[in-house]
């Protein structure tokens, strides 16, 4: 299956950047994650390849600042896919090293030439660890 050129270029950009990045298709399937994102997911892209939406969302459990689980619909990547608008929020995960991590995530939809909806991209920043 041929990837759209905008998605290909997004992957190539992501592979050069030092912040964790996820790229998903319009159905939420994880098409690519870069090396910094591998540290969050705990697995290498070369080993997993693409991941269905239902699978990758369960790899870590996001919570709010009080530790209450977040519904998938509250996650920025899902919001960006659903509304086709950018979304941002803070959340917390327990990392593979057992530490609780504060993450800031910005997601935005990808709209290509001729208005083609191609999916969404999310960028992660690590906040205070507590």
């Amino acid at each position: 299956m041929q990837r759209e050129v905008e998605i290909i270029l997004m992957r190539q950009l992501a592979s050069y950047l030092a912040m964790p990045i996820f790229i998903v298709d319009p159905e939420g399937n994880l098409l690519f994650y870069n090396e910094p994102a591998e540290a969050l997911l705990g697995c290498r892209f070369e080993e997993t390849g693409e991941l269905p939406a239902a699978h990758w969302a369960n790899l870590f459990t996001p919570t709010d600042s009080e530790g209450a689980p977040l519904a998938p619909d509250d996650l920025p990547l899902v919001v960006a896919l659903r509304t086709r608008h950018p979304a941002h929020r803070d959340f917390w995960i327990v990392g593979l090293d057992g530490k609780r991590r504060h993450l800031k995530l910005t997601a935005f939809p990808l709209v290509g030439q001729a208005g083609r909806f191609l999916g969404a991209v999310s960028f992660f920043w690590e906040g205070d660890t507590r």
Partner: protein, 278 residues
């Protein structure tokens, strides 16, 4: 299906004795079906000579533009069929996010760059925009996909019966790729070129040239071969020759390429007037 190269040069027309073997006209390729239907790929300066061979009895001509860089549209105003009253002419090409294809073409086909406006051409002109997808033009099945090159750019795959051609004259599939080209559809243009009988592909730069021109939208000789092998093309014609590569240089580069890379398919540098019967 018969394919004829009318312009093989990239970037800038390069006439003169040093380029007479491979040619100095910019991108233009004729594709002729068994029933004599004609597709014209790009409107570089090579289109002028092509236009003079199209008989007055022709009822329809289709011009497929890959993108609107000047070397791909510069010959448009000198294409004889445009000036045949009532002749059905269709131009196909990519739009931009902000302007229609007709408006963008009109920027060149209007004063002060050109004296004749697009709307003043006496032919019966229709302009079509081609996002990704398939379409049928006469006996041809035409597939288009946006490909990696600065600005909206499409590649074409043209099929008649069981014969196929892929045309990717300006293409940088290796942009940002540090190792081998990626499979599984992760390389720009791959599906268009998969299993084609003839692949006409950008090969403007040597490896040394490319180091200073990453992101300019073109390919090296060796990456063109790698792309053709990834797509399992049956024949590769190198295209969009660099204006600085005269005949002797180009012949030497291709000879070295074939010797070193040992491509899985025949690889040659396209030359003006070359014909392929598929």
């Amino acid at each position: 299906m018969r394919v004829k190269l009318w312009g093989t040069r990239g970037s800038l027309p390069t006439p003169g004795p040093d380029t007479s073997r491979f040619g100095g006209n910019t991108s233009c390729v004729e594709v002729r079906a068994d029933d004599n239907s004609v597709l014209v790929l790009d409107a570089g300066t090579g289109i002028r000579n092509l236009g003079r061979t199209i008989p007055g009895t022709t009822s329809r001509v289709d011009v497929l533009i890959s993108h609107l860089h000047m070397d791909h549209i510069q010959g448009m105003g000198f294409f004889a069929p445009f000036y045949v009253p009532g002749l059905e002419v269709h131009i196909w090409g990519p739009a931009s996010p902000l302007e229609t294809l007709r408006a963008r073409l009109g920027r060149y086909m209007s004063p002060p760059l050109f004296p004749v406006r697009l709307r003043d051409l006496p032919c019966n002109l229709t302009v079509h925009e081609v996002p990704s997808g398939s379409m049928r033009i006469g006996p041809f099945e035409v597939e288009t996909t946006l490909v990696c090159h600065p600005g909206p750019t499409v590649g074409y795959r043209i099929t008649e019966g069981n014969r196929s051609l892929a045309y990717l004259p300006d293409h940088e599939p290796a942009l940002g790729v540090r190792g081998p080209l990626l499979g599984n559809g992760w390389t720009s243009g791959q599906t268009l070129a998969t299993d084609v009988d003839l692949l006409i592909h950008d090969a403007q730069y040597t490896d040394a040239q490319y180091d200073d021109r990453v992101g300019w939208g073109h390919t090296t000789f060796s990456r063109a071969v790698e792309f053709a092998e990834l797509a399992r093309a049956r024949r590769l014609v190198l295209f969009h020759h660099d204006p600085d590569h005269d005949d002797a240089t180009l012949a030497s580069l291709v000879s070295t390429l074939v010797k070193n890379e040992r491509p899985a398919m025949p690889v040659t540098a396209g030359f003006e007037g070359e014909v392929f019967d598929l």
